[in-house]
Symmetry: C2
Subunit: 599 residues, 2 copies
Amino acid sequence: MRQSFDETTDPSYGPRHLPLIRRAMADQGLDGFIVPHEDEHQNEYLPAANDRLAWATGFTGSAGAAMIMTDKAALFVDGRYALQAPAQVDQDMFEIKDLMDGGVPAWIEATAKAGQVLGYDPRLHSPDSLARLEAAAVKAGASMMAVSDNPLDAAWGTNRPAQPAAPVVPHTLQYSGEASAEKRRRIGLAMNADAAVLTAPASIAWLFNIRGGDVIRSPLPLGQAILRKDGSADLFLDPAKITPGLAKWLDADVALRDPSDLQGALAKLSNQIVSIDPAQSSAWYFSQLETAGARIYRMPDPTALPRAIKNAVEIAGARAAHSRDGAALTNFLHWIVNQNGPIEELAAVAQLEAFREATGVLKDLSFDTIAGAGPNGAVVHYHPTIKTSRAAQDGDLLLVDSGGQYLDGTTDVTRTVSIGTPSEEMRQRFTLVLKGHLALARVRFPAGITGSLLDALARGPLWAQGLDYDHGTGHGVGSYLGVHEGPQGISKRAGGAPLQPGMIVSNEPGYYKTGAYGIRIENLQVVTQPTEIAGGERAMLGFETLTLAPIDRKLIAVCLLTAEERAQLDAYHARVLAEIGPQLGADARAWLEQVCAPL
Amino acid sequence: MRQSFDETTDPSYGPRHLPLIRRAMADQGLDGFIVPHEDEHQNEYLPAANDRLAWATGFTGSAGAAMIMTDKAALFVDGRYALQAPAQVDQDMFEIKDLMDGGVPAWIEATAKAGQVLGYDPRLHSPDSLARLEAAAVKAGASMMAVSDNPLDAAWGTNRPAQPAAPVVPHTLQYSGEASAEKRRRIGLAMNADAAVLTAPASIAWLFNIRGGDVIRSPLPLGQAILRKDGSADLFLDPAKITPGLAKWLDADVALRDPSDLQGALAKLSNQIVSIDPAQSSAWYFSQLETAGARIYRMPDPTALPRAIKNAVEIAGARAAHSRDGAALTNFLHWIVNQNGPIEELAAVAQLEAFREATGVLKDLSFDTIAGAGPNGAVVHYHPTIKTSRAAQDGDLLLVDSGGQYLDGTTDVTRTVSIGTPSEEMRQRFTLVLKGHLALARVRFPAGITGSLLDALARGPLWAQGLDYDHGTGHGVGSYLGVHEGPQGISKRAGGAPLQPGMIVSNEPGYYKTGAYGIRIENLQVVTQPTEIAGGERAMLGFETLTLAPIDRKLIAVCLLTAEERAQLDAYHARVLAEIGPQLGADARAWLEQVCAPL
């Protein structure tokens, strides 16, 4: 459910582009240059114009870095890309190293020579990662130098795709539920600083009630903002992206400014207390603020928590989006059972997108659809390509993880369906995953509990049988924004924000048998207001399930369910039938009635 | 199950002692002096000679601090002591403040005047708490001054009890299971420093396989040690405590030294990397090491984790101790049912201690027994006194939390018993607590999981009914050492060490109805080795229950239990009967057979 596997690069990228980059490095007197995967905006997805690592190396994974010296170069990737990186990259040009093995700093320490100058683009590095690089360079007797003109960009030159300039449009109160002025006022009041520098596109989108299209699979406008404690703000957006009604949509306390003004605006923050998030904003912002003489407060992005807590309008929108999206998914599930013969993964992906498109209001997918048949389903980060697409056959499981972006909400749902007759083992494992999913759906809990404290509820039934899964159980989801957002989450890792009413999280336990099949059941659920429980003393939070689509009953070993679990699943299926049924054609509705009948 | 409520003080302490302290402060030119509850050894329990806060104020709680100025004074306590502090302290002398309300630093900031000198004894403060005090003093324009002679000690003078000097004796391999030389060698190798300064009495006791009696309710020898990376060590113990065989028991690589040599020994650590735990060692050690020119590594006490992971001998000892202790507790539970008429809390406490004494090998209780009848059971930190002791009557619950110190292990167990006929509500709440207790007892989990990730398993059944309890679910327990030890624990708080085979933790969910009754069910359990599960893929850790005593079946609403829970409890009771039955007299054994029969 993560990165898209890009087939537009090939291993000739290194031999073709490395000499150009080295020439540009030489023009600036650099002995080395670091190319991180991250771009200026620290997004989950990069626009093509900012995928510098892919252009330099051919590697299109979602994380990594390259270090280019005059006589050698190395690419650093994590274990997920142990197969992909060698297939995409010319290893005569790049030594491929494991990021976990000390990464770029260790390589610098071992490789750089005394007196060498290693360049970096300060817009692309977080202050913390930069500090590690600098420490390594110092140990090697080398030094780091910030460049103002990125030599890779110079080498890329006119072949570089244009920066995205998708129109930025209002995200109206019908969907956002709270005026930007009100959001800015309450965040400004709470932020304990004179100003906050905001650089995360999702923060810009949410705070100003605007949406764009600069980043695939999410309606993000690339930009920056300075929010002051009185709620007034400067918003820096490329004029090419500004649509006619936008200036009017922004209220009088928002100054719409050209990105070229940003440096000057930061310089004017001298002697002010400025809040900035080192996890979101690059070292460039910190050095600009230091130069300006601002008092830097390293704080989490002040919009992150309020953005995660959806208001009543956003929750109503999420319900509507999930109802519509659930009907599209249910049509797809019905389509699957009506296929005679094998089902190609790529055909399934196209068919599911067609059903979502048929809603007439789909803005984009939430991410590239995962459809993994048989052994492909066991590869957690799998996306089908022409080369890998497999036909799901009788006896296979087909795991489909997908979602849609709608003006009223973002969806993310996984269903695992059996093609033909599943094995007893598949049914046992699926039922264990289901038991964990149901436990996390029905849990009640007091205020102050983080998602990590609930993670074991989803894993417990698998643990009891000596099984587990190697990914988190849940992530936050935006409202017509990114499909992965913080600060809450459900995982074995300690920490994260306490769950609060209005937060949306996924509930997606799974089981993966390498070389055989994968199982995942994912619904989104929203944290409910604290409510009294009859006979109880303390109001408890809980979850309302948003996602509505049937769960494959052929995969359920009913004997493994408790009476409580059976009743819970039956009630869920009754809800699915009641809400989704009326949106379907007669055939699909008749089928849904069957698959939603009590177990 | 915590502090003992000391009735030896009275509110006249303040009027009698404060003038003496102020005179001694004046002798040193101090405008103020801080009296923390903590002593030189950061123990859970203080010897009477070190309970400076009680002597100054009359307050005997287990946490707090006083700030004494020339013209006023304040006592800071937490919410647990909102009733106790005003009863014990003369409020004409001491303003009583809530520790949560900014504590001593906030009071200093608001109260101290520019130029004033505030004294503190650096042996009694952690470096972190001292830094907060100093920051507050600076804001007020005042300054902090370390004293070398504590003015309170000077005022206390000859009336001060002698420092404890209980004999220090070998803790033989029969109980410790690993030679001190071997412990020191492996910890020295792992500690990444030239030397470690150890000041926690439990660390001293465990590392050198010695036990003492300087601190009530635990066999701790007060002392210090310097452990070097080659495994050699200096051990600083008051010569008055050294028993004839001790020097021979310590191997040749341990130098037994007088505590007056400690300062000089620290001074010799110049240019060495010295590991020291700021949570265990006071600011005095840090300033000594800084003066010496040592390179200070602030690290967790290197013995804490190895101490928590019990070896096979310690686990076998724990089983034996719990079997013996379970028989004593079962005799007590049988005694209760045979009483005609009300049962006084204090009589119950004495009777239970008598049964433990009758084992012939009890060294001490693990803590002052909690016996709370009716509403007293709802006071989590309650201990009966002559003033508060209540008679449990028909319809009451009696909560008894107790434990014994034996050479082979430390026990801690809570049983809640109904006197006469319990109400339906009591049975429902007890059964919810039991369900949580059973869930935490049977859970299987992979390596790397902290106790906090399992906490919700114990609370879930209560949460589902709008109920909860306001204490942790479990704490580590030493092996003939403290009844509360880290670094593992089971609570809502994130963090703590991952659970590892050999760690002992308590499993003690509860429910408390203010003014009515309290319920707690507590067993100790030891983390088991990872074991394969039939049909599974990953070896899983789990728990073996150590505590053996029947759970009151009159309080169980069987209809609320699942078949799995019933089978689990029946199996536990069968184990209790098999292991405890043979140790009992005929009457008690016959009774145990009844109460351990399958539900």
